[in-house]
């Protein structure tokens, strides 16, 4: 397949990126809305388009375990999952990270039960934000495709696993034009992984008991690798930009230059938000948008730079952190802004929206903007839900 523009869903684009990145092992268990990714990939295997071994497993606990075992043997290993599947991987997420294995996963974001729901929000991957995985979030199929390569490159340079996240159905199933790399260029970018010690390199024990005398040194090492991931990610972004012409920085600023107000968010709603910003700008309002692509490690400095000096910012979470004061993005952005001088620090208002596939409209952004311009409603509490029914029909 040569470099070309194709009409693809986010899932198919991701599966193509995975084939082009030339893994040795792909282990997965199907779960909506990520099922198509292993489905497409297994077709590549059946059609002889990749030499990778496809491992159909009986659960996500097993798919991540298979990836860990394969990566521990030096194999480039991929998987895909969503929501409850990600939850079933939980202990293995931490093990992959602490064993310093650069497994790469495509997470297709879906609400994590309950009540049971198969549609999009960020409650699944946000729960895994402290597991030691690098996390990249995509606005559309193109970014989902592009960021898979960047995730792989970053992961393998620092020895940490990475997950790329795209919004279930909205991005994963909607078909849009996606510009693909030529196979050879993609392979050149990805190179080959050069692991350190592996299960096949001699007699080793991986993952033995780590007592109080040693555990903290290993956590400190892991923390250091996470810090190095900033620079590794920046390098991966630069190289990918040179290759593709597309620059996927940790954050994207949209019409923020002279903005007094800003929306801060993650994922597909950024497209709707940009449209809202355009319309508000047409009416003379100084408003912009900040989209976060890299969530782990968290680009606090870039965010503080982009937001300081604004009057007020709405931080919009597609999941509730149940902290009583908003979702994880709001908490992290607040943390990022704490280091800025008080006079420069914008008022921060946490919003929760779009849970379980609830649509977000341009008009929703208008409402949030109105709220930002006015004093915080006394009855809003410390977090404001948007797009939720407040009144029963009469």
């Amino acid at each position: 397949m040569s470099g070309r523009t194709a009409l693809l869903s986010g899932n198919e684009a991701t599966a193509i990126a995975m084939r082009q990145a030339r893994p040795d092992v792909f282990a997965a268990f199907p779960i909506t809305p990520s099922t198509e990714i292993p489905q497409y990939f297994s077709k590549f295997v059946a059609d002889g388009e990749t030499p990778a071994v496809f491992v159909p497993v009986e659960s996500e606990h097993s798919s991540m375990s298979a990836c860990i075992g394969a990566a521990a043997s030096g194999a480039r290993s991929f998987t895909a999952t969503s929501a409850n599947g990600l939850a079933l991987m939980w202990e293995e997420l931490y093990i992959a990270a602490s064993l310093r294995l650069p497994v790469v996963m495509a997470c297709v974001n879906r609400a994590l039960s309950g009540p049971i729901n198969i549609n999009n929000d960020h409650s699944d991957s946000m729960g895994a934000r402290d597991s030691g995985w690098i996390q990249l979030y995509s606005e559309n199929a193109q970014e989902a495709y592009d960021q898979f390569f960047i995730a792989l490159k970053t992961a393998e340079s620092v020895g940490l696993p990475a997950m790329t996240c795209q919004d279930g159905f909205i991005t994963s199933h909607a078909v849009e034009p996606v510009e693909l790399l030529e196979d050879g260029k993609a392979a050149g970018y990805c190179g080959t992984w050069k692991p350190g010690r592996t299960l096949l390199s001699g007699p080793v024990s991986m993952g033995p008991y780590d007592g109080a005398e040693f555990y903290m040194e290993h956590k400190r090492q892991q923390s250091d690798a996470v810090s190095q991931a900033f620079e590794a990610h920046a390098r991966a972004v630069r190289e990918y930009g040179a290759l593709s012409g597309r620059l996927l920085d940790p954050v994207e600023e949209y019409r923020l230059d002279d903005a007094e107000y800003a929306f801060v968010l993650i994922g597909s709603s950024a497209g709707t938000g940009k449209d809202a910003v355009d319309r508000l700008r047409e009416r003379g309002h100084r408003v912009g948008l900040l989209k976060i692509r890299l969530f782990r490690p968290f680009p606090a400095e870039a965010i503080a730079r982009a937001l300081s000096g604004r009057r007020a910012v709405a931080v919009m979470d597609k999941c509730d952190g149940f902290s009583g004061s908003g979702g994880p993005l709001a908490a992290e952005v607040a943390g990022a802004l704490y280091g800025t001088p008080a006079a420069e620090r914008p008022e921060l208002r946490p919003f929760v929206y779009g849970l379980g596939g609830r649509d977000v409209w341009v008009e929703e952004f208008f409402g949030i903007y109105e709220s930002l311009r006015n004093p915080w409603a006394a009855d809003a509490g410390r977090v404001e839900y948007r797009g939720v029914r407040e009144e029963a029909p009469v």
Binding site: S98, L99, R100, G159, G196, R197, G202, P203, V204, S205, M206, G207, P208, D210, A212, E213, F214, M216, E217, H218, R220, Q221, D224
Partner: protein, 102 residues
């Protein structure tokens, strides 16, 4: 952990990545004998060398020689679980309290 011990241990910069142990057979160096609260005592005169206790030991702490006779306990690794005493048909192993409060 005592400070004098700590200074001989590797720093986070030099310690093996992810705790991977790169030499074989290293578990023998991990002495687990001080985990014991009860110590097995072998009465050699009552022992018939039937070797029932040998595979029952989860810590491989009962040596059994080519001469088909067992030897004394490896107390550096025995955790004092007492399985050997329970499986012995001849009452050749008894468990006694290990040190501490009398």
């Amino acid at each position: 952990m005592a400070n004098e011990t700590r200074k001989f241990l590797p720093s986070w910069r030099t310690i093996d990545s992810a705790g991977t142990v790169a030499v074989p057979g290293s578990s023998e160096k991990f002495l687990t004998g001080d985990w014991r609260t009860e110590r097995p005592v072998w009465k050699a005169e009552a022992c018939r060398h039937c070797a029932l206790c040998v595979p029952a030991c989860p810590d491989s702490s009962i040596p059994f020689g080519a001469d088909q006779r067992r030897g004394g306990f490896d107390l550096d690794h025995c955790k004092g679980c007492g399985v050997c005493a329970a499986v012995c048909p001849f009452g050749a192993i008894s468990m006694i309290p290990e040190g501490g409060l009398k």
